[in-house]
């Protein structure tokens, strides 16, 4: 079997960990976001009821997805929206390109869409001679830096303002040494206003699509999706097929949860409901599968499709916070990325389910109650059983330590979850955590992978 050429999570996080003050800063910044989430969640007593309701709505969606897709399509068509279906990333990218070709457009503006990251749309369009400008400030910064986003909600959370100042100095002509966020944001505003005003085609993501009405909702704080969409002749919205919700009233549940979980805000600045194209405008929706229907068929892992991409599991994850988003070498990092990626390519992402302490903090904050840490644990079994762990030459002592020590940690978290959660940030810096240069051989788990896998296979 061929070996992977790029570095795995453990090696990439070693690189990230070379600069210890930066790791501490990254860790603290994300923990601060996590604390804002807690304050927002505790601010409404019905928060747990909302999580349970959202989880059940998503269960209903996944179990009736084919009907909801057909219903959504019919309503969207009746609303005057053109609907496309893409089986995979390549087809999605070709559809986008064909729309651009039809309108003879070579430059587009895009608002945040993790799906287009997943599909590597920018690289594809770049190869076709199309220029794409990412308009979310964080995404613009990483785009100028020629890097992928390191977080699904906070794309440049790994960058210091001085580095951003340097990027702006080189690309947007700000004064050298200028790193004031106010000045840099104003510069981006002026620069992108020009872009919004001159692009005829805008691409946006989709946060929620409603089967009952055929409309879709896009949430931003910056207003960039709206600036792009309302100034363009053609609006293309790309969405994964799991983004559907049955009824409009369900938005009440999801919008109450989304930003409280993400950043601790009560709601995003803009929750825009697109139902029909504006007069004279063309509106497209691309429904993308790209492995989702397969994940739906994996009983143990289908819950990952409930994700609303709030990022809470990343902000709370002691491993994400101390290894950085890029160490996951996947468009979606963190705990959720680690359970989505192996579905797409088990060999390529064999290392990711091992990048966790299985402390369960992710599952505790997830607004749709995905059993994230259970799924990480199960992926490990599958990966080992399928023989992929062995082909990953660099599953180092560190990763093995993770695996073997995890059931104990897992049980500990289960029994005394509250206590563990409270002290989890400290656990990161003591010898209990394999991230901290621990090299002893851990005790083997009571149940072997093989036993577990046999029991759970069917």
């Amino acid at each position: 079997m061929m070996e992977r050429t790029h570095k795995d999570h453990a090696q990439l996080s070693d690189v990230f960990n070379e600069d210890e003050p930066r790791v501490n800063w990254h860790d603290e910044t994300l923990w601060w976001v996590r604390q804002k989430r807690d304050r927002a969640a505790h601010g409404i007593p019905e928060f747990e009821l909302l999580r349970e309701t959202a989880s059940q709505i998503k269960n209903n969606v996944l179990s009736n997805l084919s009907d909801y897709l057909v219903q959504f399509e019919a309503n969207a068509l009746a609303n005057g929206i053109i609907v496309h279906w893409a089986a995979n990333a390549a087809e999605h990218n070709r559809i986008v390109h064909s729309i651009l070709e039809k309108h003879d457009v070579k430059r587009i503006v895009k608002s945040k869409s993790m799906l287009t990251e997943e599909c590597h749309l920018n690289e594809y369009l770049g190869g076709q001679g199309i220029s794409v400008v990412d308009s979310d400030l964080g995404e613009l910064i990483v785009q100028l830096a020629k890097e992928p986003p390191s977080h699904i909600v906070l794309p440049c959370i790994h960058k210091k303002k001085e580095e951003i100042g340097e990027i702006f100095h080189r690309h947007l002509g700000t004064e050298k040494g200028m790193s004031d966020p106010q000045v840099l944001t104003e510069t981006a505003r002026q620069h992108l206003r020009e872009t919004f005003l001159t692009r005829r085609i805008a691409l946006t993501g989709v946060n929620f699509a409603i089967a009952e009405t055929g409309e879709f909702v896009v949430c931003t704080n910056e207003g960039n999706a709206d600036m792009g969409a309302h100034l363009s002749d053609v609006h293309i919205a790309s969405m994964g097929i799991e983004k559907l919700i049955p009824k409009r009233k369900h938005l009440g549940v999801f919008l109450r949860l989304l930003t409280r979980s993400a950043t601790g805000q009560p709601v995003t600045t803009y929750s825009s409901h697109f139902k029909t194209p504006r007069k004279g405008q063309e509106m497209h929706i691309i429904l993308v599968d790209n492995g989702r229907s397969a994940q739906l068929g994996r009983k143990e892992f289908r819950n990952s499709l409930k994700c609303i991409r709030c990022g809470a599991c990343m902000n709370t994850c002691p491993v994400y916070r101390r290894s950085g988003g890029h160490s996951y070498h996947n468009a979606i990092a963190g705990p959720i990325g680690a359970i989505l990626a192996p579905n797409l390519d088990m060999k390529e992402y064999a290392d990711l389910p091992f990048a966790s302490t299985l402390c369960g903090s992710c599952s505790n904050v997830c607004p749709v109650k995905i059993d994230i840490h259970d799924q990480l644990y199960k992926w490990r079994q599958v990966i080992v059983q399928e023989g992929y762990a062995a082909t990953v030459k660099s599953v180092s002592m560190k990763a093995m330590a993770f695996t073997l020590s995890s059931p104990a940690l897992y049980r500990f978290a289960g029994k005394s979850g509250r206590l563990f959660l409270k002290y989890a940030p400290f656990a990161v810096s003591n010898q209990m955590n394999p991230w901290y240069k621990q090299r002893e051989m851990p005790e083997p788990p009571a149940e072997s992978f093989g036993e577990w896998y046999k029991k759970n296979r069917n």
Partner: protein, 194 residues
Amino acid sequence: MSREKILAAVAANQPASQPLPPDPGMNFPAGDLVEKFAAVVTAIGARVVGIGSVAEIPARIAELFQGGRIVSFIPELAEIAENDISPATDPHTLENVDVTILQPHFAVAENGACWITEDLMGHRVLPFITQHLAMVVTAEQIVPTMHQAYDRIAEGAYGFAAFIAGPSKTADIEQSLVLGAHGPRSMTIFLVGL
């Protein structure tokens, strides 16, 4: 065709149907709606300006803003504002609008959001492209949570609509909050009867 392929794969792989849960209800502790709304609006970076009646707005606009191109469809503001913006307007011509004053359908106490449909915007891009945005809200228009909000929305039809909560903002640079990302730099709520 990918459509058939995807639908067949989804139908084959989806689990047995699970029912929708009951709605979470609406009877959550709300407190004083006006007070809550005003507090949240302030917390999200907007400002609340209490007024006795809409007739006071032109004077307050003169105090609060530096003039420039002002747009509003409120009849009492006809003297100071343009009102001939429509869906037929070329959106690019709105690039230099400084202040826009709109009347949403209602506002939400728990998050400070105002619900506005496209028929109240003149043009879809206006609430986003304007440098400063103001909304006129009366106490009776404030609902407690998003659940009541969607209950009310069910009555209306729209091609485009939005909840707008505060000014455009970003914290992408080291989590420092900056107001005025791509949309309005400021959001003013004229709270009538406060």
